[in-house]
Amino acid sequence: MTILVLAEHNNIDIKPSTLNTISAASQIDQDIHVLVTGYECEELAKNISKCEKVSKVYLANNEKLKNPIAENIEPIVVSLANNYSHIMAPATTFGKNIFPRIAVKLDIAQVSDVIKIISSDTFMRPIYAGNAIATVKSNDKIKVLTVRPTSFEPVETSGGKEQIENISFDNDSGSVEFIDREESQSERPELSTARVVISGGRGLQSAENFKLLNEIADKLNAAVGASRAAVDAGYVSNDYQVGQTGKVVVPDLYIAVGISGAIQHLAGMKESKVIVAINKDEEAPIFNVADYGLNADLFEALPQLSSELDKLNTIQQ
């Protein structure tokens, strides 16, 4: 058995999701190849070839592959597929966009969003926004899987075999043209992959008050999220939303501020390792899932939290 992992990257840096996916693959088999599709990314391919568990990197380097157009990446993976027992990608918008195309071209039923590997053909995945967990067995010859990055520890970026093989690409679909990409301008980590997330709800009362969260986020290197109520009230834009209809986050630390804890919101964050809830309503359901609850007025608690974090940082220095 050999496993092929499709790498997610930006032509310069490896996305952490790739390291998580390699780690998931290593629970199935130790012979792991990684496919890098991109442009002017030889350095990146070299860095991936150095990663733990990686025995070989295939590099398709072409201007047409500069941006991850699903129609262009799919045939490259399909052409390699028959040499592998498993083909894996992270269940990020990158992997979700491309992988079902590969599965259908191979006439294989994909298993999406794997959170646990039971054996080489049996996997656990969340359904109903994580309100139920299904254990499924794939009976196809090749297993096509996307894996939830936050469910697997990343591999180390050293220890690989440093073998790279170039492959050609001459398959530009031509029916899709990349125009541009507007990456959220934030110094902070991405919400879906951040190690710490601090989210605000309707309790914040205004867009202006989200600054209180930003200040703490900066001190914790956290991403800022919001409940649907806060988004609907117009305090922050849609891309902040954590929940069943927004983003599902699984950080090490999730701090819910002024969020009551509707089912909708819990579905998006209850797998977080440690949950903190700050709410002035002691009956708020969010306290039922919180490891640490603080029944307090957030407008008093947040400035205090900010200064306590400062103290902590001063001591560490």
């Binding site: 990158f94 309100n131 899709v176 125009i179 507007e182 710490v196 609850g293 603080l294 974090l309």
Partner: protein, 249 residues
């Protein structure tokens, strides 16, 4: 120009999901069912494309048991023109569903297929991409804006890093994000009118497509229950706990 919109009947998103004691699945009896939320965005977008003069007919397709007709009727009440119901009593996998949609698309020849980016029951997020690949039409997944410009469209996509814009030629497959639009409610006169709109029903087994499941569901269980933690008395205690007990800051 014809638009084909796919809709799925799922457990309403406000319902608390209950896993069956025998681990065979989730409780669906006597549970409120609704149209899959992002499918509503797909229907709404089709209506807007038609209202802007860029399409003349909207066809609603659903694959499912007899009750799927209710979901088709909901879309017809929003303003779509006619329905196609592919009947099956089994829960089909995205692989089979995409083959059925492609087959219907080959007959109906729509210019755009609009679907929700993912169904909130099995959360697979596969059918749009698979349909695109089968038809060899371009795909525009996780769409939060669709601008038709002659024989192509500029689509804004919601990606983890932010937003991406692509230009796709018609015909194409769009999978719709919740941010695409605000779906309308059906008015009472439109609900009445929808009762008279035609729905063509065919049995899934009559299509000549292999819809046998490939994935075996071994069991379905509740997610691990989170133990309620402790209440702290003030912020200083909270920070100390996070630092020394949980070790997350």
């Amino acid at each position: 120009m014809k638009l084909l919109v796919t809709v799925k009947r799922v457990i309403d998103y406000n319902v608390q999901i209950r896993v069956k004691a025998d681990g065979s699945g989730v409780e669906k009896d006597n549970v409120k069912m609704s149209m899959n939320p992002p499918d509503e965005n797909a229907v709404e977008e089709a209506l807007r494309i038609k209202e802007a003069g860029n399409a003349d007919e909207i066809i609603i397709l659903s694959v499912g048991n007899d009750k799927a007709q209710e979901t088709i009727r909901t879309a017809l009440a929003m303003g779509a023109d006619r329905g196609i119901h592919i009947k099956t009593d089994n829960d089909l996998e995205p692989l089979a569903i995409s083959k059925i949609i492609s087959k219907v698309a080959e007959e109906e020849k729509p210019s755009i297929i609009l679907m929700g980016k993912q169904a909130i029951d099995d959360d697979s997020n596969q059918t749009g991409q698979m349909t695109s690949a089968l038809l060899n039409w371009p795909q525009a997944t996780f769409a939060s804006k669709i601008e038709i410009e002659g024989q192509s469209a500029i689509v804004t996509r919601e990606i983890d890093e932010g937003l991406e814009r692509i230009k796709v030629s018609i015909p194409f497959v769009a999978s719709c994000d919740l941010r695409l639009n605000e779906p309308r409610y059906a008015s009472l006169p439109n609900i009445m009118k929808a009762k008279k709109k035609p729905i063509d029903t065919k049995d899934a087994s009559s299509l000549g497509i292999n819809i046998e499941p490939r994935i075996e569901q071994i069991k379905v269980e509740e997610p691990p229950i989170r133990q309620k933690g402790i209440m702290v008395s003030d912020v200083a205690e909270l920070v100390q706990k996070l630092k020394h007990e949980a070790k997350v800051i």
